[in-house]
């Protein structure tokens, strides 16, 4: 399957932060900006607005503050459930990104909005899932629906979620001993 | 023919009774007990009382044995196959059985039951039924009502237990 050899990952993938093209951006939508501003006002240093587009916003958070920000969002904005949790491997930055997509069922005015709450955790070359520094606080107490998603991220990318009661594997076999398969250095056979 | 049949049924009854006591597996023991009860039904058939024999089969083999089996299967699995080997108790039991058989046999032989002869016809179950429906009808109705009442009562009791369980 894959090897955990220490060949450097290919260089052609530019990191996302490294390319902020300064073009004439479309005007920032007011409604989306209002609820993002709530978060930025509360956590001025720890959060960074990635983009505010129509119906879609993204906020990058430091990994230590993710639980606090999530609790603030849960308590002060109508976002009440997590739709999706995406884990992305960035071998260039030696980081793994975790993106929570939050939505709202209770407030009809927010029904189009999806707030992406993103963070990065350090990545290790020789992963030992659960026992290395690739750890993140679980948002399960704030958004219960991330339970299975976080289990999936754990097995697919090796991000251990502290505070998650059930960090077993979900989709992979119980005796999976290889690299977490969604990391970029896990090579598909024949590709 | 009748003698041979009697012998066969006796061997079946007594043998399966001994087996019911001696089997290590409780399930097989209860199956042997069913054999015993069935053998007794065979005796009733030989005595020309099929009515009693069928009741014996329906009630004892059909229902009581199911209850016994059901109880046995709810017992822990280790207990079903647990060996109880105690030769002292075994011999004491056999001796006690012999004493009881001898005593009962002596009493029966002594009581003169062997010499009783009667030519009157055995009572047919139809007559019993007819009497129940005609002369003793109040008793029948009373019995039916008591049976119905007891069933209802049992159901009420069972229901109360059920709701308690649900509350838990």
């Amino acid at each position: 399957m894959s090897t955990s050899e220490t060949t450097p990952p290919p260089k052609e993938i530019p990191p996302p932060k490294a390319a902020p093209p300064e073009k004439t951006k479309p005007p920032v939508p007011a409604f989306e900006k209002s609820y993002v501003d709530q978060i930025t006002n509360q956590f001025s240093d720890d959060v960074e607005v990635e983009y505010i587009k129509e119906n879609r916003t993204r906020v990058n958070v430091k990994k230590e503050k993710i639980a606090e920000v999530a609790k603030f969002i849960k308590d002060n904005t109508p976002f009440d459930h997590a739709e999706s949790v995406t884990g992305v491997d960035f071998p260039e930055d030696k980081e793994i990104g975790v993106i929570y997509h939050l939505g709202s069922y209770t407030d009809p005015t927010y029904s189009k909005q999806v707030l992406a709450l993103a963070t990065r955790v350090p990545r290790e070359e020789n992963p030992n899932p659960g026992n290395d520094s690739t750890k993140l606080q679980s948002l399960r107490d704030m958004f219960y629906s991330v339970e299975f998603h976080e289990r999936e991220i754990f097995e697919m990318l090796g991000v251990y979620f502290e505070g998650h009661p059930d960090n077993r594997r979900l989709l992979l076999p119980e005796d999976w001993a290889d690299l977490p398969p969604l990391r970029k250095d896990f090579k598909n056979r024949g590709r | 023919m009748a003698d041979a049949l009697f012998l066969a049924i006796s061997i079946l009854t007594i043998g399966s009774a001994i087996a019911a006591l001696e089997m290590r597996s409780l399930v097989y023991g209860s199956i042997a007990l069913m054999g015993t009860l069935g053998g007794i039904a065979g005796f009733y058939v030989m005595l020309d009382s099929t009515f009693v024999a069928m009741f014996q089969l329906a009630v004892y083999v059909g229902s009581i044995a199911v209850l016994i089996l059901f109880t046995v299967m709810l017992v822990k699995r280790e207990l079903i196959f647990k060996k109880i080997e105690d030769p002292k108790r075994k011999f004491a039991g056999i001796g006690l059985m012999l004493i009881v058989i001898l005593a009962l046999g002596a009493i029966i032989m002594d009581s003169g039951i062997k010499t009783i002869t009667t030519d009157s016809d055995p009572v047919d179950f139809r007559e019993i039924g007819g009497d129940f429906l005609t002369y003793y009808w109040p008793a029948l109705i009373l019995m039916a009502l008591i049976l119905a009442g007891s069933v209802m009562g049992a159901l009420v009791l069972a229901r109360r237990e059920d709701t308690v369980e649900n509350e838990q």
Binding site: R58, E83, H101, S111, S145, F186 | -
Partner: protein, 383 residues
């Protein structure tokens, strides 16, 4: 809940039971079980009551997301519809919308209507299949045979449109793959009308059946608050009284030009959850008829796409309402022909979290009714 440290040695979950009371029996429902689908539910029962249920998906895990990272945007189309081949148009829809967003291409008006018609037909096909299995799970073999029979009508129709019976791969960035046949409007209208007449008969034999009502009403009740808290979607959510349908709330393509109604029930039990898809089918028939009426009779069916398109340096997240609920697709793109990361946020995976929650405390006889009323498709959850 107490924090649980990962055990160093992974045990199969079925063998992890220690110090369990003798009253509790562990049943492995699946993967070779007629009532589980392609998954395993580890059920612990105490008498007739389920005390614990642990879903264990992953038996049909294909690694679609990993596969998508090494294929370009066009060659990703056929394999991304594999998770739900019965609902292939709808499972492909968010990906197509995302790719159109990334490469910046407009879709012709006629193609949008064709897409809506194909998506609604496919939704009916999926729900019929789901309903058939729901019927046989409840021991109602007539309800197994009728939907599988009536489903053939729409499959024939889809075959006329796309050329394939099940896996269509019909939507492409910039439109649809090929135009509908010549007399398509008449044939489609006739088939859909007959289909609607047929599925209305299901009420007589299935949905109004007193035994079915007595059996599924008040079982597996999911309250409105819990449905929101668990983040469920689609029919499960709408059966619990939350009015949330992406076709209305976030209209994509031409759904904002059509008169779409959604079906919401308040009860949140298995019966309501099983009735919502059936009502959705009737609604789909309405949508198809409207779309057929409003569809431009001629025009381009797709925009010309330059070969091997590259995305821009961005990320997009698009959602559609599939046969089971919201299907989202999160594409992180670099300036490359293939996506950097593609995440399918599918409704089955989101609804699965409600299964252990609902099964705890139910009777064992309710397990199939509750499980399949979640509108769960194991292959989709595994991806």
């Amino acid at each position: 809940m107490a924090e649980q440290v990962i055990p160093t040695k992974k045990m199969p979950p079925g063998l992890q039971v220690e110090n369990v009371d003798d009253r509790i029996m562990t049943l492995n429902v699946g993967p070779q079980h007629p009532g589980s689908g392609h998954m395993r539910i580890i059920v612990k029962i105490d008498g007739d009551y389920i005390v614990d249920a642990d879903p264990d998906p992953g038996y049909v895990h294909r690694g679609e997301e990993k596969m998508a990272e090494s294929r370009n945007y066009i060659t990703n189309i056929p394999h991304l519809e594999r998770p739900v081949i019965h609902d292939s148009c709808n499972i492909l829809y968010p990906y197509i919308l995302g790719v159109e967003d990334l490469v910046g291409i407009e879709v012709p008006e006629r193609a949008k209507y064709v897409r809506v018609i194909a998506a609604e037909l496919n939704r009916c096909i999926y729900i019929q299949y789901w309903l058939a299995i729901y019927g046989i799970f409840l021991g109602h073999s007539t309800m197994f045979m009728w939907p599988t029979g009536d489903r053939e009508l729409l499959i024939d129709l889809m075959e006329k449109i796309t050329g394939a019976r099940v896996t269509h791969a019909y939507f492409i960035p910039g439109g649809v793959r090929n135009d509908v046949p010549a007399n398509f409007e008449d044939v489609c209208l006739r088939q859909v009308n007959y289909f609607e007449k047929r599925i209305k008969e299901y009420a007589d034999i299935f949905y109004d059946n007193p035994i079915l009502k007595a059996r599924t009403e008040d079982t597996g009740v999911l309250s409105r608050e819990d449905a929101i808290r668990l983040g469920t979607t689609g029919s499960v959510l709408r059966a619990s009284g939350v009015d949330y349908d992406l076709r209305i709330k976030e209209p994509y393509d031409v759904y904002d030009e059509l008169d779409v109604h959604t079906n919401v029930l308040k009860e949140g039990d298995s019966y309501a959850r099983s009735k919502i898809p059936w009502l959705d089918m009737l609604e789909s028939c309405n949508i198809i008829r409207q779309a057929l009426e409003k569809m431009p009779k001629s025009g381009s069916i797709r925009k010309k796409l330059k070969p091997n398109p590259k995305g821009r340096n961005d990320e997009v997240y698009h959602r559609v309402e599939s046969g089971r609920g919201s299907a989202g697709c999160h594409i992180i793109s670099r300036e490359k022909p293939e996506p950097y990361r593609l995440k399918l946020s599918v409704s089955s995976f989101r609804n699965l979290i409600a299964l252990p929650y609902l099964l705890k405390g139910e009777k064992l006889g309710n397990m199939p009714a509750v499980y399949w009323s979640l509108n769960y498709w194991p292959v989709e959850a595994d991806r």
